[in-house]
């Protein structure tokens, strides 16, 4: 292996690692606030990529109808849970059906105008992001008091259902979208594609924005408070369900963004997201699902392991990445004195 190949592999690893870092951040965020291990995050990534690719190819994305289905289910669930309450119905319907309606209307209006990749990307975010809070309402909010394990089983159930829905709505074909930028930057022996620059800068901007959100805004502080102690947060007036929905919305946005970013990099199928999401998990687990910086560092490491593994033993790429979780868990296990939780 010469220096050029090394550099290319590192570049590849860092770019992929940046995506995993975004996902790992969203997983840590959702886990700390709601204790849900968000397995279906991968589906949101894939659905967003497929949506972007469809818009890019001048077709109406099937995810519009999926979003309407999920929004409808969320509204139905909300109405059912609140069937004995008198008020709040209008607000509930606005919250559950409003964002899907806006997304559908804007897409139907803007998509045929072919305004370019920027609009396609924005519409994809608009379509996929509201799926996450809808899932929260449908599946997880009613289980708010359950154990981490029950929530995890539910998350796997949601993943399973979303996978099936993905096949119904998107079909089995894979797609690849065109990139944001065809520019190439030559740096010594490296040729850095514009898409890589996009990914890295978006990741950095998003991390900075998240840091600002958690550090400086009241909403961010409320989320942090819920993460530390949900009961205590509720006592000072932060609604747990609202905090959970907000965390899911942020995660949905990050997942959708990741999907738009990878769509031009690789061929995406309806079930591609799970493996991508799982790599985010490997990274998140390194930080014990609670530490942001460790998760980001680990995500870059996962990207590097993957890129070097695909060079040396390409068919073993996934095997190596996912087996790497065992030593990680072993180290965590040795580092922990006693059993960690008492639920």
């Amino acid at each position: 292996m010469d220096g050029t190949i090394l550099l290319i592999l590192v570049q590849d690893g860092v770019v992929n690692g940046a995506i995993y870092a975004l996902l790992a951040l969203s997983l840590v965020l959702v886990f700390t606030v709601t204790r849900v291990v968000l397995i279906p995050q991968g589906e949101l990534v894939a659905f967003s990529a497929l949506t972007y690719a469809a818009l890019d190819g001048d077709t109406l994305p099937a995810s519009l109808w999926l979003l309407l289905v999920l929004g409808g289910l969320a509204a139905a669930r909300g109405l059912w849970d609140g069937r004995r309450d008198t008020g709040g119905k209008v607000r509930l319907l606005l919250e559950t059906l409003g964002p899907p309606a806006v997304a559908v209307a804007l897409t139907l209006w803007l998509a045929p105008l072919r305004l370019g990749v920027g609009v396609s990307a924005a519409l994809s975010l608009l379509i996929v992001t509201p799926m996450a809070p809808a899932l929260h309402r449908i599946a997880f909010a009613p289980l708010a008091g359950a154990s981490v394990l029950t929530l995890l089983i539910a998350a796997v159930g949601v993943h399973f259902a979303m996978l099936g829905l993905g096949l119904v709505f998107f079909g089995p074909e894979g797609v690849r979208a065109s990139g944001f930028s065809d520019a190439r930057i030559h740096a010594g022996p490296l040729m850095i594609p514009g898409q890589a620059i996009w990914i890295l800068s978006v990741t950095l901007v998003l991390m900075a924005a998240l840091a600002g959100f958690f550090g400086a805004t009241l909403m961010g502080k409320a989320l942090r408070a819920t993460a530390v102690n949900a009961v205590g947060a509720r006592l000072v007036g932060i609604p747990a369900a609202g905090a959970g929905r907000l965390a899911f919305t942020l995660a949905g946005f990050i997942g959708a963004l990741s999907g738009v970013l990878i769509a031009p990099l690789t061929t995406v199928y309806y079930d591609t997201g799970f493996l991508i999401g799982l790599k985010g998990f490997v990274a998140a687990i390194v930080g014990g699902l609670v530490a942001y910086p460790a998760a980001v560092a680990a995500a870059i490491a996962v990207g590097l392991v993957e890129s070097f593994a695909s060079f040396w033993a390409s068919s073993f790429k996934e095997v190596i990445v996912f087996t790497a979780i065992l030593p990680v868990l072993l180290i965590r296990s040795l580092a922990s004195h006693a059993h960690e939780d008492e639920e």
């Binding site: 291990v37 397995i39 449908i138 599946a139 009613p142 289980l143 359950a146 154990s147 981490v148 394990l149 029950t150 995890l152 089983i153 539910a154 796997v156 159930g157 949601v158 993943h159 399973f160 259902a161 979303m162 996978l163 099936g164 829905l165 096949l167 119904v168 079909g171 089995p172 493996l275 799982l278 998990f281 490997v282 687990i285 699902l289 068919s315 073993f316 996934e318 095997v319 990445v321 996912f322 087996t323 979780i325 065992l326 868990l329 072993l330 965590r332 296990s333 922990s336 004195h337 006693a338 059993h339 960690e340 939780d341 008492e342 639920e343």
Partner: protein, 594 residues
């Protein structure tokens, strides 16, 4: 009687299938149900009883299936010879994953097994030895006394005999000394640990047992299908097995069978019906199953089986429990009254900046009842946790009967004869009172998992249960022996915890607020009981007691000495009378004189 009925029913089930009039299609489905039920039974023990979850059961099944496939096709081994090897392969895999994840919180096992099944799925698809994605064809059928069981109708018998054996084994395992340790995991791991049953070992046992059943199912699968490939051992299959356990009722043996049958039948119907109805391609069953899983967790977290069981059973009032006649267990020698038992010095525990216990020193002598009192937040319960190995001190020494116990874990401390009750009761709510108490006698039995599975532990179990009944009688709760522990009033549950602690045959008893939640008369009974326990002349007496208690009347009348704590430090020590007169104590409790 009912056992005979089950046997006849089982034989009839095996026989009916042999009639050619029963369509082969139904036999095929029943075979899948049987194999799935065996996997789901493992999950009953792991998830429903042990409170852990694995998304790797299908890949453990794969270990069993591939082991027999490789050895029978490549090396010509007899399938009967590969059966133990298949199970051993699953066990070995589970041992590795278990060693890595079982010390961590429950969701790490789940996440670890997800990653691991994905990894193994790809590995089986790459390696030559597993035949890549094509798998291994032409696996020889099982034959018995020269009779080939290649026909699924004949193999049906093998599968369902295995189901029967797995049901029996699971029942036996759960109704045993090690089984109680597994069931205690759900009452909070601390309960088992304080009785000397290390939770990590119970976790590992449950995980290995589930993997062994999956390995058996894999062997059956390989010889039923006569071919293996990676697909049936992937993550989606594991998710379906978990769905079976959750849907049927994760804590119930019947639930595993019911769940396996429901999911298999629904799956079959969905795969044939839905594409017609919707007229499109897709894995519609995953949508239904995923949704169903969430819905069951939301609406009936205990699954369907308990609902059915509730309809079927009107529990009749059983006979009044008596103390069974079984040879008594051996007792340890108690130290003679007055000798130094417990010597605590310099005990310190910090939580970040907060010093919960600071330089605490006190002693307990044999035959004494010592009270540890102090206002809320004084560090009493933290001290208890340090003494019983639940928490680790930052500094200080704990010497018990001349042996340094500093830094020992809870099971080790239990082995030295220190038993405890908890401020927040830690009983297994759905286990009977007497089973909860028998958990306390864990260290006084030896029977392991193998003896339990083969029912070789009956004599020892009888002795453990006789001891449990004796201790229940002693605390006055023998009449409640067969009620679920969770159905007792909270005050009584505390007394059950005392009986459980007594089953350890303790030298020193640590009681955390034993009188809380008791009525006045019950408190007097408790005080009388504790005096009898301490009295070396009474049967089974001579136990020393250290107790935390808020009820001052109770403490003052009962204890020989008091240690008063405030803000983590020892404020005073002495007889109840001296402590009551101590101005510092008065100030701590009543505030300074204005």
């Amino acid at each position: 009687m009912s056992r005979l009925l089950w046997l006849i029913g089982g034989l009839a089930w095996l026989l009916v299938a042999q009639f050619p009039a029963v369509p082969a299609f139904w036999i095929g489905l029943a075979n899948i149900v049987g194999i799935s039920a065996i996997v789901a039974l493992g999950l009953v023990v792991l998830t429903g009883v042990g409170g852990m979850t694995s998304f790797g059961q299908a890949s453990f099944m794969g270990f069993g299936a591939y082991t027999t496939a490789i050895l029978t096709t490549g090396y010509g081994l007899s399938p009967w010879l590969t059966l133990p090897l298949s199970i051993a392969a699953s066990l070995a895999a589970a041992l590795v994953i278990g060693a890595v994840t079982l010390r961590l919180s429950g969701h790490y096992l789940a996440l670890g097994t997800i990653a691991w099944s994905v990894s193994l799925f790809y590995l089986a698809g790459i390696l030559d030895v597993t035949g890549r994605y094509d798998g291994i064809p032409a696996i020889p059928p099982v034959s018995l006394f020269g009779l080939s069981l290649a026909d699924p109708r004949r193999f049906f018998v093998v599968i369902w005999v295995c189901v029967g054996l797995a049901v029996l084994a699971t029942q036996n395992l759960l109704d045993s000394r090690v089984g109680r340790a597994i069931r205690a995991l759900r009452g909070g791991a601390l309960a088992g640990a304080s009785c000397g049953a290390p939770p990590i070992r119970a976790r590992m046992l449950a995980f290995l047992y589930a993997a062994a059943l999956a390995g058996l199912a894999g062997w059956l699968y390989a010889h039923l299908q006569r071919a293996v490939n990676p697909t049936p051992f992937g993550l989606p299959a594991s998710i379906q097995y978990l769905l079976m356990a959750v849907l049927g009722g994760a804590g119930q043996i019947g639930g595993a069978l019911l769940g396996a049958a429901l999911v298999t039948l629904v799956n079959d119907r969905l795969q044939t019906l839905l594409p017609y109805l919707i007229g499109a391609q897709g894995n519609f069953e995953t949508i239904v199953f995923g949704g169903l899983m969430v819905l069951v967790l939301q609406t009936a977290p205990d699954g369907i089986w308990p609902q059915l069981a509730r309809l079927a059973r009107r529990s009749p009032a059983g006979p009044t429990p008596t103390i069974p006649d079984a040879p008594a267990l051996s007792h340890r020698d108690l130290p003679s009254p007055g000798t130094r038992l417990l010597d605590v010095s310099g005990l310190t525990r910090r939580f970040g900046g907060l010093v919960a216990v600071n330089d605490l020193a006190f002693t307990v002598n044999a035959g004494e009842i010592v009270g540890l009192i102090g206002p809320n937040g004084a560090g009493k319960s933290t001290s208890f946790n340090l003494l019983t190995g639940v928490d680790r001190a930052d500094a200080g020494r704990i010497v018990f009967r001349g042996q340094d116990l500093t830094g020992s874990d809870a099971p080790a401390i239990a082995r030295h004869g220190i038993a405890r009750s908890f401020q927040h009761v830690k009983l297994v709510a759905d286990m009977s009172v007497i089973e909860n108490v028998a958990l306390g006698a864990h260290l006084r039995g030896k029977a392991g998992a193998l003896a339990a599975l083969l029912r070789l532990d009956r004599a020892e179990e009888a002795r453990l249960f006789a001891e449990a009944a004796r201790q229940l009688d002693r605390v006055g709760l023998l009449a409640d022996a067969h009620r679920p522990a969770g159905s007792l009033a909270l005050g009584r549950q505390r007394i059950v915890e005392i009986a459980r602690a007594l089953c350890l045959d303790p030298v020193l008893l640590l009681l955390d607020e034993p009188a809380a939640g008791l009525r006045h008369a019950e408190k007097q009974q408790l005080a009388a009981l504790l005096r009898r326990l301490r009295d070396p002349q009474s049967a089974g007496g001579g136990v020393s007691i250290l107790l935390v208690e808020h009820d001052m009347d109770f403490v003052m009348g009962l204890t020989d000495r008091l240690v008063v704590m405030d803000f983590g430090e020892k404020l005073a020590e002495g007889t109840p009378g001296a402590v009551r007169a101590n101005p510092k104590v008065i100030e701590a409790y009543l505030g300074g004189v204005a």
